[in-house]
Amino acid sequence: MDQGTQKKSRYGMLIDLDRCNGCGACMVACAVEHNVAPAEHKATARTGVTWLRVAPMSNGGEFPATDTIYVPMPCQQCEKDTPCVAVCPQNAVDVDPATGIVGQVPQRCLGCRYCMTACPYHARYFDWWDPQWPKGMEQALNPDVAPRMRGVVEKCNFCHARLHTARTKAAAEGRESINPADYVPACVEVCPSKAIVFGDLEDATSELAQAVKHPHVFRFLEKLGTESKVYYRSDKQWVLDKAKSLQTV
C-alpha cells in the first residue's frame, strides 16, 4: 500500500514533561496495541517488555526543594547514523526513507542484542520468555500486529500498523496522502493530559513542526549526534540544565 503516500515524511513526537504525570496509560495502551504479552511473574523492570518506558527524573534536591518529573522514553527514532541500524549483523533493523521510522524485523532477528547494547536510550527490549496470554485473552489480540516470538528484540515503531491502516484508507478514498488525523499512535491517543504531540516534521504547517521550535524544547543526548525525532519540552530550568549537562546520577 506504499502508493498511498507519495510525499516523504519525517514522523516525530514532542513530549511535554511538565504535563506528564507518570500515570503510565501510554505504556498500557502501547502494550495492548502491540500485543505485548502480560509480564511473567519473574519479570522485573529490566526484563519486562515495554516499548514505551516512563522513567522518573529527580532534581536531587532536599525536601521541600525536591522535584520529580516523568520521562516517557519510546524509541527515539534516530535519523543520523542510527546506532542500532549499523550494528545489526543481519539487516533486521532499518530506517524507512519514506517516513523516517526505524523498523525492526523480528522474523529476521538473531537475538544477539548488539542493537540493545548500541542504543543509548535503552529503548529496545528482548523477549526473555515465550509470550503467553491467559486463556481467552488471545482473542483480544490486535489482528494488525504480529506477536513476537521468544529470543528476539522488539521496540517502538510509532504504531506502524496504524500508518498502514491510514494508507489503506487513503488509497481506498483515492487520496495520495494520508489524513494526519488517521495516523495517531496509541500513546498519543490515550494520554489523559495531552502531553504528547505527534506529526510530520517535514510538514512545516503541522502542530509538531511548529511546537519543536520553542526554546524550551530539547532532545536527550543531543551531543551524540543521532538526530533523534522524539523531542521533549519542559519549562523547568533544572530539567533543561540536566538534559543538556548529561550529568548522570
Partner: protein, 410 residues
C-alpha cells in the same frame, strides 16, 4: 590398556589415573550441558542478563578466550611465515589451545543468541557495515582453518599412521600448512580487530566509542595488538601449567623465553598505543559528546584504579619484565609476567564489555550492576571442562610437544 595409542618414546600416566583426572571434568561438563539445555529449551530468562545489561559473562568469556586463543595464529605466524623454528616446540599445543578457545567461544555464542537456528541469516542477509558480521565471517572461517590444522596432529597418532591413506593425507596437509597459517593470520587479524571494533563503533556508549582510523575505530588495532601480545604469553602459561600437572619437562627453557620476549615486545608497543589512545579519548573524544572522562571513573566502584591496574600493573610492568633478558631468564619471573599479561588482557576485555554497559548514558539513569546466574557460570565452566578434556586427550594420545621425547632421552 591404551598403550598402543600413546606416541612412541613418551611416558604417560596409567589409564586408571587418567580416567580419575577426566571423570570430574566430564561431570562438570555434564552439569554445564544441563544449564545450556535450560537456556536453549526454556529461554534466556535463566540468565541474569536483562534489557539494560544485554551482554554479560558469556560475551566477556568470548572476547577473553578469543584474545588468549590468539596464541594459535601468532605461533603459526612465527613458525610458518617468519620461519622462527623456536615456535615449532609449541605449535601443536598452540593449535589445540586455539581450537579449544575458538570452538568454545562459538558454542557459547550459540547459547547466548535468542534464536540460534537463525545463525545462518548472517551469511544470507549480511549487514556489511556491522562489526558483528565481520566477526561472524572471520570466526567461522578461522575455526575451520583450526580444525584443518588439528587434523594432521591427530593423524600423526601412531595407530592412525598405520593407515596409508591417512599418512598420505597428513603429508599433503603439511604441505599447505604455511598457506593455512597465512590465511589464519589474516582472518585472526580481522576478527580480533572486529571484536574491538564491536565496542569502538558504539557512538551511543561514549565510554567505549573511539576515533576512527580509516574505517576502523582505534579499538580495532588495540585488540589486534593486545591479542598478539597475550597469545604467546597464554601459550607460555599453559605450557608451564601442563609441565606442572604432568610433572614432565616438555620444552627447552629457551622456547619459553622466546615466547616471553615476543610477548613482552608486543605488549610494550600495545601499552604505548593504548596510552596514546586513552589520552586522546580523555581529552578529545569523550568531552566532544559531553562526557568528562573522569565522570566514568567516578561512577560506582569503577575508579581510576581500574585504568592504572590495566595499563601499568598488568601492562607496563610485565612488558618491562619480559623484554629484560636477565629477568626473563628467571623461570618464576617469566611465568609471573606472562600470567600478568594474560590477566591484563582479561581485565581490558572486562572493562570493554562489562564496565561499558554498567555506566549510564541518560541523565536519570544510575550505574547498573549485574551478577551472572548459576546457569551462566555453569556454561562458562562447561567450556573450561571441555577445554581440559580435549587438551588432556590430545596430550595423552598426540604429540603436542615435539621436544618432549628428546628432553626425556637426554
Amino acid at each position: 590398556m591404551d598403550k598402543q595409542f600413546i606416541p612412541r618414546g613418551l611416558r604417560r600416566t596409567t589409564f586408571g589415573k587418567f580416567m580419575a583426572w577426566m571423570i570430574p571434568w566430564i561431570l562438570v561438563l555434564g552439569f554445564g550441558l544441563y544449564a545450556i539445555y535450560l537456556c536453549l529449551a526454556e529461554g534466556l530468562f535463566h540468565t541474569n542478563m536483562d534489557n539494560r545489561f544485554a551482554f554479560g559473562l558469556w560475551i566477556y568469556l568470548d572476547l577473553t578466550v578469543i584474545a588468549l586463543g590468539a596464541g594459535a595464529f601468532f605461533t603459526g605466524f612465527l613458525l610458518y611465515i617468519l620461519r622462527r623454528e623456536e615456535a615449532r616446540a609449541v605449535i601443536n599445543s598452540a593449535v589445540v589451545l586455539g581450537l579449544i578457545c575458538y570452538s568454545g567461544a562459538v558454542a557459547v555464542l550459540m547459547v547466548d543468541v535468542g534464536q540460534p537456528l537463525r545463525a545462518w541469516f548472517t551469511f544470507w542477509h549480511p549487514n556489511t557495515h556491522s562489526m558483528l558480521t565481520e566477526v561472524t565471517f572471520c570466526l567461522t572461517a578461522y575455526l575451520t582453518v583450526l580444525l584443518i590444522e588439528y587434523v594432521p596432529i591427530v593423524l600423526k597418532n601412531r595407530k592412525l599412521r598405520q593407515i596409508p591413506r591417512f599418512l598420505v593425507f597428513e603429508f599433503q596437509l603439511h604441505k599447505i600448512m604455511p598457506v593455512l597459517a597465512g590465511v589464519g593470520t589474516f582472518l585472526s587479524f580481522f576478527h580480533q580487530g572486529s571484536l574491538g571494533g564491536l565496542y569502538g563503533v558504539l557512538q551511543g556508549r561514549p565510554f567505549a566509542f573511539r576515533e576512527a582510523l580509516g574505517i576502523w575505530p582505534s579499538t580495532f588495532f588495540l585488540f589486534v595488538l593486545s591479542a598478539a601480545a597475550a597469545g604467546p604469553s597464554f601459550v607460555l602459561v599453559m605450557t608451564a601449567l601442563v609441565q606442572g600437572i604432568s610433572k614432565k619437562k616438555l620444552v627447552k627453557p629457551e622456547v619459553l623465553q622466546f615466547l616471553g620476549r615476543i610477548s613482552g615486545s608486543l605488549l610494550l608497543v600495545y601499552i604505548l598505543v593504548k596510552a596514546i589512545d586513552t589520552l586522546v579519548w580523555m581529552n578529545y573524544t569523550s568531552p566532544m559528546v559531553g562526557f568528562s572522562a573522569f565522570e566514568f571513573y567516578n561512577a560506582g566502584s569503577f575508579g581510576t584504579w581500574i585504568l592504572v591496574l590495566e595499563v601499568v600493573v598488568l601492562g607496563l610492568v610485565p612488558a618491562l619484565l619480559l623484554v629484560n633478558g636477565h629477568m626473563r631468564a628467571r623461570p618464576l619471573v617469566l611465568l609471573g609476567a606472562a600470567l600478568m599479561t594474560c590477566c591484563g588482557v582479561m581485565l581490558n576485555r572486562f572493562v570493554m564489555t562489562i564496565q561499558t554497559l554498567a555506566l549510564p548514558t541518560l541523565p536519570f539513569d544510575a550505574v547498573l550492576s549485574y551478577m551472572p546466574s548459576w546457569e551462566e557460570v555453569a556454561t562458562f565452566v562447561a567450556v573450561l571442562a571441555y577445554g581440559v578434556l580435549l587438551y588432556s586427550l590430545s596430550f595423552r594420545y598426540l604429540t603436542l610437544f615435539p621436544q618432549e621425547k628428546d628432553i626425556r632421552q637426554s
